[in-house]
């Protein structure tokens, strides 16, 4: 996978308007649009091609699901986020590339979205982040369920509830003050920030956050030292103004 493609943005060029015909980059893009489109459909290229509705719309849909049990709103959420959840499932090597299992993650996630819609607070989180964390936890649970049937280890009397991802991930509520400290940026700012990163940094961010690989696994897969992975992630996050250091 070529790192160079990671930060190309067709939409930006199309909407730029003022790009001259003589611009070599633009003409490269025009000539290679077919190739680029092929890469997009293979999931090798990240673009803004999908119309990115502002989060307000999703917040409204979630509220509507919570208050009125609106299936129309729920369907709108499914149509936008379902395909993203499926893509997210494919990013994890633990699922193989099984269509069926990926669909199962979509189902499990959307059911949880439905059930938990009342707990969504637009002041505390963005809709896309909230849904991501639900998909993340559902992925953890599904992977564990898969391992359970392969393993013959005995299970403690504690019961399944203790091991569920929701119990260990995201239990402690963030207070409003903490959200201010972390400086939640608008989706657009964050998105622009990510696309403005040097290729090796945006690539490593996608690897560690989307692909269900720990730092150590990413280092091994890419054949680079663990320290390099750590510093690239740190640099990328600091550019996005995510503060880690005290």
């Amino acid at each position: 996978m070529s790192d160079g493609f990671a930060c190309l943005n067709i939409r930006f060029l199309q909407s730029a308007g003022s790009v001259k015909k003589s611009d070599p980059f633009a003409s490269y893009m025009r000539n290679n649009r077919k190739k680029a489109k092929a890469k997009i459909s293979q999931g090798l290229m990240i673009t803004h091609k999908r119309e990115d509705k502002p989060n307000q719309e999703w917040n409204a849909h979630l509220a509507s699901v919570a208050k009125d049990g609106s299936r129309e709103s729920f369907k709108a959420l499914f149509e936008h986020f379902g395909p993203l959840i499926k893509a997210f499932a494919f990013k994890s090597s633990g699922f193989g590339q099984s269509d069926q299992v990926a669909d199962e993650l979509v189902q499990e996630t959307m059911i949880r979205v439905w059930t938990k819609a009342a707990t969504f607070d637009p002041d505390k989180a963005q809709a896309s982040t909230w849904i991501f964390t639900i998909a993340r936890n559902a992925r953890i649970d599904l992977l564990r369920k898969g391992r359970k049937y392969q393993d013959d280890s005995s299970f403690s009397e504690n019961g399944d509830e203790f091991y569920s991802a929701d119990n260990i991930w995201g239990v402690e509520e963030n207070t409003q003050i903490e959200n201010e400290i972390s400086g939640i940026r608008s989706r657009q700012q964050l998105s622009d920030g990510i696309n403005g990163l040097p290729p090796e940094q945006s690539y490593i961010l996608r690897k560690v956050f989307m692909e269900d690989r720990t730092h150590a696994e990413a280092a091994e897969e890419l054949g680079i030292p663990l320290g390099t992975v750590k510093s690239r992630v740190r640099l990328a996050l600091s550019k996005l103004r995510v503060t880690i250091d005290r």
């Binding site: 999931g43 999908r50 893509a87 997210f88 990926a102 964390t133 403690s156």
Partner: protein, 227 residues
């Protein structure tokens, strides 16, 4: 004042969900005490959320939405016919209490767990995380007691939950998140005034065939006693 935090690797692996549950348990415990790291996790989740929305979408099968609605109808029927559910109580972190995850594990209180004593210095209770690669336990070092000097066989994460202890490298309080590498030797001493409660997870069980291991079983079996 918390001085020891999970580094960027642990925070990222936790936020991304790729971390093993045993280790995530330790990070989650630290987060109970540390607002700064909670904010960092929050920010990372926002980054991940942004990356998530930029994934190349893959269409689910045609019947997936209907299957979801069916499941919802079934669940709804079950709910309607049962007691009205109270919304889950959202707890705000309060460092004078134990982390939520620990309370979940030790329903009915810590004294209800099975505690194993070693010498008069401490006691431990095994936490089954369904993970063959790691051993996880809660343990107490009794007030003023010292654990004999020894090394770990594998990498270990320890989170102080109550009280404090110190070793040659520093002094550790509730909330501190410590990582010790394989082979590092140390000898922890609990503070005089209070028993010290810790959570610990250790990599790589020792081979059982080693005669030295057998001779040292009382000390070595309880590997999590260090931090």
């Amino acid at each position: 004042m918390i001085h020891y935090h999970p580094d960027i690797r642990f925070l990222t692996d936790y936020a991304s969900g790729s971390m093993a549950a045993s280790q995530a348990l330790c990070v989650a415990s630290h987060l109970h005490y540390c607002a700064h790291c909670r904010a960092a996790i929050n920010s990372m989740e926002n980054v991940a959320g942004s990356l998530f929305t930029e994934l190349a979408p893959v269409a689910p099968a045609e019947d997936v939405f209907d299957r979801i609605l069916d499941r919802i109808d079934i669940d709804q029927a079950a709910v309607d016919s049962s007691e009205p559910q109270t919304t889950k109580k959202v707890t705000t972190p309060n460092s004078s209490r134990l982390p939520e995850v620990i309370s979940h594990f030790a329903k009915g209180g810590l004294d209800k767990l099975k505690w194993n004593k070693i010498g008069k210095g401490f006691r431990y209770s095994y936490v089954d995380m369904q993970d063959k690669m790691r051993e996880t336990s809660l343990f107490y070092i009794n007030a003023g007691q010292k654990i004999p000097r020894h090394a770990h066989q594998g990498d270990e994460i320890t989170v102080v939950l109550k009280g404090s202890f110190s070793d040659q490298d520093g002094c550790y309080q509730a909330g501190d998140f410590l990582v010790r590498a394989q082979g590092e030797k140390h000898s922890p001493v609990a503070a005089q005034d209070e028993d010290c409660l810790c959570l610990s997870t250790l990599d790589a069980p020792i081979s059982m065939t080693n005669w030295l291991y057998k001779a040292l079983i009382p000390l070595v079996k309880y590997r999590a006693e260090t931090a």
